[in-house]
Each structure stands twice: as C-alpha cells, then as structure tokens.
Point group: C2
C-alpha cells in the first residue's frame, strides 16, 4: 500500500512539474509582453516563441538533454482545450458587418485559394524534393505530399489575430482571418477526400469533393448557429440573471464548448462551428444577460483566448528544441537547408498564385459599387498575401497528427517532415510576423497614423473598447439602412447592402423577439 | 499512414465523447438547478449528484454495462484542475474579518478536532469491522485503518460551500469552512507521519507530528501569502491596466494557480496555500487593477468555481454506478449494510466528540468578551456538528488515491473500501445535505427570516452583492476601530479586536502603500 502511494505520488508529480513550469513561464511571457508593448517590431507571439526557446534551452541544459518529455507537443491538448476558446473568442468579438460584407471574397480565398495553394505546394515538393536527396516521402505514398500541401496551405488564424488588428485594418483583418477560419473546413475535406479516393481518379471526381465541402461547410455552420440560438433562447426564456449571473456566464461558456465538441464528434469542422456559435452568441445571447455578465463574458473570453494563444506559442518555442527529432533526420544540413528554402518559396508562390488573381476577380465583381473603399487595392493585396503567409501552431498540430503516432515517431522521413514544419513555422512566424507591422505601417501610413495613439492594444485583446461592445456594429447598421433608403440607385448598385437590409428586417421582425437583443429601426414589431 | 490517422482519430474521439457528454449534462444540471432554485429542500450538489446518477444509469443501459471507462473517477483531474479554483474562489470571496476573528476556534477544530475524530473512527472501525466479517483490512496493515480515519474525518469544503451561506450565517460558515481548509493540512501531516513512523511509537512521538504540522501549516500559508503579495506588487508596479485589462486578469488567474502547483511540488498543502493566496489577492492585488478587471475577476472566479463544483458532484453521481467495483466486493449485503451503518455512526460520534467539547472550550476562552454575539451557542454547535458531517468529492479522491492504483483495483478489500466511501459520500451528501437547510431554518428562524428574501443565491455564488465586493469588510473594519477607540475596557476585554487594530495600523502604514489598496483611517501615510 505504501508502494502504491509512492507510485501514485510520482505519477501525480509527473504532471505537476510541467504544469508549474508552464504557468511560471506564461507569467513571465505576460510581464515581458507588457514591457515590450510600446515596441513597434515585436508582437506577442514572437515574445512567446522566444521565451519558449530560451526556457526550453535552459531546461535542456539543466536536465542534460533528457527532458524531451516535458517538451512534447500534444495535439490533443491543442485541439481539445486550446483552439476552441481562441476561435470562439474571435467569433464573439468579430465585427460582424465587416465579416459578412466581405463574405464572398472570404469564401473564394478560403476555398478556391486553398485548392490552388495546395496543388502548387504538392506539385512543387513532388518535383523538387527528389532533387534535394529527400526521397522517402514522395516514393512511398502520395498522401504525404497532399498532407504537406494542406498543412502548409492553411493560414494560421491564431497568428493572424496577433499581427492584424480589427480596429486598425478592419478590411484586411476580416479577409485574412475569415479565410483562415474557412480554410480549416477546406483542409478537412481535402484530407478526407484524398484518403477515400484514388489519386488517379481525383480529377474526375472534383464535383464530389465540392459537394463534400458544401455539406461540411453548411452543416458545421448550421450546428454553430443552432447552438448559439439555443443558448440565446434558454437565457431569454429562463432569465437566469434573476438569481445569479454566475449561471449565465457558465451556460455561455459550456454551450460554446459543447458546440465545438459536438462538431468534432460528428466529424464536422469544429473551428467553423464554434466561430459561428460565437457570432450568434454575441448577436443574440449576449443581450439576454445582466450587465455584469456582459462585461464579464466579454473580458473573460478575451482572457482565456489570450492565455491559450500565449500557451500555444510557448509550446511551439519549447517544442522546437526537442532534439530527438533532429537527431533522427538522416539528411545532410545542405539538403535540409534546401528543403526549408524550397518549402518557404513554395508557400510564398502558392499564396501569391491565388491572392492576386482572386483579388482582381473580387474587385471586378464589386466594380459596380459606388464606393471605392471596399475594393481591394494592390497595397491591400500585398498585405493580405504577406499576413497570411504565417504558419503556426495549427500547422504543427496537423503535422504531428499526420506524421507521428501520439507525438512519437521512429521513421526518419516522418521526423524530417516534423522538423521541416517546425522550421517553417518558426521562420514564418518570426520573420514574416516581425515584418508585418512595419509593412502595414509603410503601406498604409494614413490608416496607421490616425489609430496608433488610441490603439496600443495587445493582439486579439481589444482592451478599453470592450466597454462598448458591438457599438460599431449597431452604428454602422443604422447608417446602412438610412443610406440604403436614401437613393434607389445605390440600392441596385450594391447588392450586399440589399441583403443586409432584408436581413435586418427579418432579424427585427422574427429573430430578435424570439432570441433577444435590441431593435434598431422600429420601436416594437 | 492511413492506419496511423485512424488510430489517432479513435484516440482523439475517446476523449471527445466523454467531454461532450459531461458538458451536455453540466448544462442540464445548470438549467435544472435554476428551475429548482426556489425549492427549500434541494441544493445544487444534490441536483448534480442525482442528475449524475440518472445520466450514469442511462449510459449503463445504452452501453449494456460496458462503459465503466467514462465513469472512472480520476483523482488527478480532481486535484490538479477542479479543486484549486474552488478553494481559491473561497479565499477570494471569504469575509476576511469573520474568518480571522474566529481564527483560534477554526484552528482548534481543524487540528485537534481531526486528531480526535481520526482516532475515534480508526479505533471504532478496528474494533467493529472484524465483528462484521470484514477482516481483510484490519488484519493486513494499520495504514488502511488510519487512512479510513483520515478520509472520513475531513469535512468537505466543497459541500460546506453548498449548504452554508456566507451572508446568511457568517459565523457558522467561517468556522465550518475554515475548519475544512485547515483540516486538509492536518490530514496530509497525519498521512505522512503515519507512513514514516512505527505505530507502536506513534504516541511517544506526538511532538514530532505536531512539529510537522506547524511546519506544514506555516510554510503553506507563507507560500500563499508570498504569491499573493508578489502578484499585488507586480500589478501595482507595472500597471498593466494602462494597456489592457486582459493581462491583469490573466496574471491573477495564473499566479493563483501557480501558488497551488508550487505547494504541491514542494509537498505542502496546496489547499491552504491557494486559500491564503486568494485572501491576499482580494485584499491587495484586487485593488490594483482596473474597474473592469475587478468586476470580471470577481465573477469569473465564482463561475469557474461553480462549474468545478457542479462537475465534481456530477462525477460522484456517475461514479457511484461503476458496477465493476460493486461486483468485486465479496461480502454479503448484510455485512455491507452493517459496515455502512457503522461508518456513518462513527462519523457522527467522531464529530460530536470534538465539536461540543471544543466549542465549550472556545466559549470559555471568549467569555471575557462583552458581546454575546460571538460565542457559539448550543444551537450553533448542533449546526456546526451537522453541517460538517458531509463527506464529499475530497473523501472520494483520497480513497481512490489510497486504495487504487490510477483508478483501478483488483483487490476485493480495496474495492470494498471504495464502495464504502461512495456510499458514505452519497448518504451524507444527500441525507445530511438535504436536512441542513431545514435544520438551519428551524434552529435559527430569525437569522433566516430576515435574509431569506434577499438571498436566494446559489451556493457559493453570491450574485448581486458581488457588485460591492469587500464592502462589508471595509465597513466592519471602520466600525471596529471606532469601537475600539471608544472605551478602554473593551480594548482589554477583546484581544481579537486589539490584534485587529494593530494589524490595520501596520497594514495602512507599510503594506498598503507597497502592495496597493485603499487607506481607511488616514488619508495618507
């Protein structure tokens, strides 16, 4: 029995040590991030990655290279606990008008763009890797290649939140971030489609893939919308706030998480579901709770998301030093450099190949509109191209899912793919992330100059303006409607506003009375 | 590679299913708990246990008795994730004046009381169990017996939070809850002491045990106080609020959790540490953050604690139906009934044996005081005795730690001990918990009548008065000081007020300028 106790004790401590370490380093990150807030080059994710690297190397020195266990990347932890709050918060805080205004553009980028980018990266690596003496993968199966394409094609939503600011560059933010959300669904579909189909018949069954995508997209969205509406309805019907605001906050948190888990259970895209659940909750459910719950939820979702983001980047930084994997790759450093360079080049080309043509297409679609403000200028296109280049924790998690079994691999080819992913993620996050702020400042000096003084906020954490949630949305909605009524020519010229106008009418007449929220253009229906 | 993916997928889903289930059932609990709010018999924990039992039986029916895996109680989950937020929140929201005013009484109950109760339960079971044909345990080793004593002697803090309300019965709440916090440290010391020492020499080395206890208590408290002060200092010195309130909230959450983990790492009592960390944070750190952060932290700590509590009771309810353990016990139902009855009787006697004598002692100590309000009347004693009888999730977790290896046991004696614990927990929580509300209503009709209408709050979740945090403390402090100045006889008669007075002076002169918080009796030092 004493023995049992001791074993239990050791077993327990195995978790206590890494958790203590991570929490302590997280606190450190927070303080350093705060001190570097004024710095114009560094963002939160770079701080976290660097602190993670330093902590990892200290740990390696202290334990003399043994402690790879603490550093192992656990994709379960990532997909089950860390990702959902980040994406939910993004949906909860997103400026809905901007998002839906650019909905078509976002869908094009997120769907067609990923197809283009995946085929370029897959084809490119198929063609280039054998020339760099990296044979194992392409000789063995095509799945690995497609996997590379998918892994390196998905823009990381978490990184995007870190470099683009909703208040500074709303158009760019909504396009790049929205694309990131949508392309998660595309990746899932591509993965599943490739696994089911013969590669030779893939082209013949493109319609099937498209059908799968439409099914996945619509069912994931529907699930998120339903959960959001259900939450709003429960909160409105039972009016929890009468007794305690704690129950309201709990219910919102739990339902949001439930939507993600249900989507995963039904093999849908949890990211899409929880994103739409967040949008619906901020549109309806949030209006049915007490004032205190409103302030609390708004800030607590932002806080949890912030902690999760920092945690992920720390993890990536520490994981980069897992030397076992580095030892396992049997290639010369020359070939490795070649592979890294080649991958980064392919990512650059793959993204350019869809951002510029699709932007031009989107502009030509929108050319009938009166305002020039909503068209994507060339400068915008460059920033969209650049800001979406970052590959982050999502890529690493996908790579681990694809190339390892529960975080362990014994195959040198797989180990090489893991290290490739880590290098690409570190390089893109550090270098591209580092240059994004200056690039935006250089490309859009006006936009930045007016906002800079009021908006020093940390990435993804709009601080003081959380006091006035959704205000900008309400305001713009009212403006839209008056504008739409103003002239009939506008009405014909801008179909997006028309849809928006009818949606508002429907929302006020049927949805808001049932699910809660303020009325805008009439006092009572 | 496809195979890998599939295995990974199944592996992932193994967690997705139970999490979805738990979250869904949690939401259900929340809604049912809200609907039964007005009911005078039922409390939140009973609802959760019953819902857990029902969900568990439905699950057993659906899976035809196979799904014992979902129902397994994981003591790691409990001690690492669920317990810390509950205890931290208790420290954060506790009325500090009441707590420190009764400090000596609490310490007596928590230390001497546990010793008395443990010896009675240990001795009683040693004497009674063989008569009930339950031989294995007592014949094998004395550790099991002491373990039973400790497991069944510790009042469950979580249960206490559910039946006693800080605002309705502040004296009783602070004594019973404080005792629960302190007796965790006592249990840890007893456990360790017993493992190190020979039982025959235990009596001779009682001073050693006392020394160990004093060391553990003081170092755990010191760690909690230090972490709390450090957090307050960082928040004050760096003024995070200037940039974003998200960082403030994150730092408070992370530091609180870190204090618990560090205590576990250093083999101290994490419960004591995180409790004192909570007290210090609400006293200093909380005053250094922005208004928004204050509202948010106050509610979010309450919310997380609420979710964790509900989760634990659900878990206990579902775990009760883990039929494997029931099959393993080889005793007749008659002997089992005898054992259950005997254990519950011992718990009743063991608690009575220290509550009444120690209360009398505490009263005689305090008899010099002018006010009769602070003495423990006989009615109070009965409620203290009764409300502390509940054994909850902490007992189950300790039993699993002691009698199983990672939740699995193959020994019939150990299995019997686990089922004993589950039965005792269910019985005490349901029956004693059920009767506590009516008992308080019957014993203290006045106290209850005046407060009932204003305080329908869910257990542990003071809702609307969170708006005015610490106000009662500030008020009473000011009252105390004016009262203390009023007459010198009072000053001599009530040493507690004198200590409190000097503490306030010291606090205002040295602590508050350094760590933050408002000044009371002077404008500036």
């Amino acid at each position: 029995m004493i023995n049992n106790l001791l074993i239990n004790f050791a077993h327990e401590h195995k978790k206590v040590v890494p958790i203590s370490l991570f929490v302590a380093v997280l606190c450190l990150c927070l303080v350093i991030g705060h001190l570097l807030e004024e710095n114009r080059w560094v963002n939160e994710s770079i701080v976290a990655i660097l602190v993670g690297c330093i902590a990892g190397s200290i740990l390696l020195l202290v334990t003399k290279g043994k402690s790879s266990h603490i550093l192992t990347f656990d994709e379960e932890l990532f997909f089950i606990y860390l990702l959902p709050p980040i994406i939910f918060n993004a949906g909860f805080q997103v400026k809905k008008k901007q998002f839906f205004h650019n909905f078509l553009t976002i869908m094009m980028f997120g769907v067609i763009g990923v197809f283009i980018s995946t085929s370029i990266i897959t084809g490119g690596s198929w063609w280039l890797f054998p020339k760099l003496n990296f044979l194992g993968l392409s000789a063995r199966d095509y799945l690995g290649e497609i996997a590379i394409g998918t892994i390196f094609s998905s823009t990381d939503t978490v990184c995007t939140l870190q470099v683009l600011h909703q208040d500074e560059t709303p158009l760019l933010y909504s396009i790049v971030f929205g694309e990131g959300v949508v392309n998660d669904a595309t990746s899932v579909v591509l993965f599943n489609a490739v696994q089911k189909l013969d590669v030779s018949r893939l082209s013949g069954r493109a319609f099937r893939v498209l059908g799968d995508f439409l099914y996945l997209f619509s069912s994931s969205t529907a699930l998120g919308v339903l959960t959001g509406l259900l939450t709003a309805y429960i909160l409105k019907a039972l009016s929890f706030g009468r007794h305690s605001s704690v129950r309201e906050i709990s219910l919102m948190m739990l339902m949001a998480y439930l939507s993600y888990m249900l989507a995963e259970l039904l093999e849908l895209s949890g990211i899409l579901t929880v994103f739409f659940c967040g949008i619906l909750m901020s549109h309806y459910a949030w209006h049915n709770v007490t004032e205190i719950s409103r302030i609390t939820t708004r800030h607590v979702f932002a806080t949890i998301s912030f902690i999760a983001e920092t945690f992920i980047f720390l993890y990536v930084g520490m994981d980069a030093l897992d030397i076992e994997k580095w030892r396992m790759t049997k290639l010369s450093s020359g070939s490795l450099m070649g592979i890294y360079g080649c991958l980064i080049l392919l990512i650059l080309v793959g993204r350019a190949a869809f951002v510029f043509p699709l932007s031009a297409f989107a502009n030509s679609m929108m050319s009938r509109r009166a305002e020039s403000g909503s068209s994507i200028t060339f400068k915008h296109q460059i920033i969209i191209w650049w800001a979406g280049l970052m590959r982050g924790a999502v890529s690493i998690a996908l790579a681990f899912k694809q190339f390892t079994f529960s975080g362990v691999t014994s195959d040198p080819v797989n180990a090489t793919m893991i290290t490739n992913t880590i290098i690409v993620v570190l390089f893109t996050t550090l270098v591209f992330g580092f240059l994004t702020k200056p690039l935006i400042r250089y490309m859009l000096p006006h936009n930045n100059g007016t906002r800079r003084n009021t908006n020093h906020e940390a990435a993804g954490t709009p601080g003081e303006d959380l006091n006035l949630p959704l205000l900008s949305f309400e305001e713009s909605a009212a403006t839209n409607i008056s504008r739409a009524k103003e002239s009939l020519s506008m009405f014909i010229g801008s179909p997006a506003y028309t849809i928006h106008h009818y949606w508002r009418k429907f929302d006020d007449a049927y949805m808001r009375p049932l699910f809660g929220g303020p009325h805008h253009n009439r006092s009572r229906c």
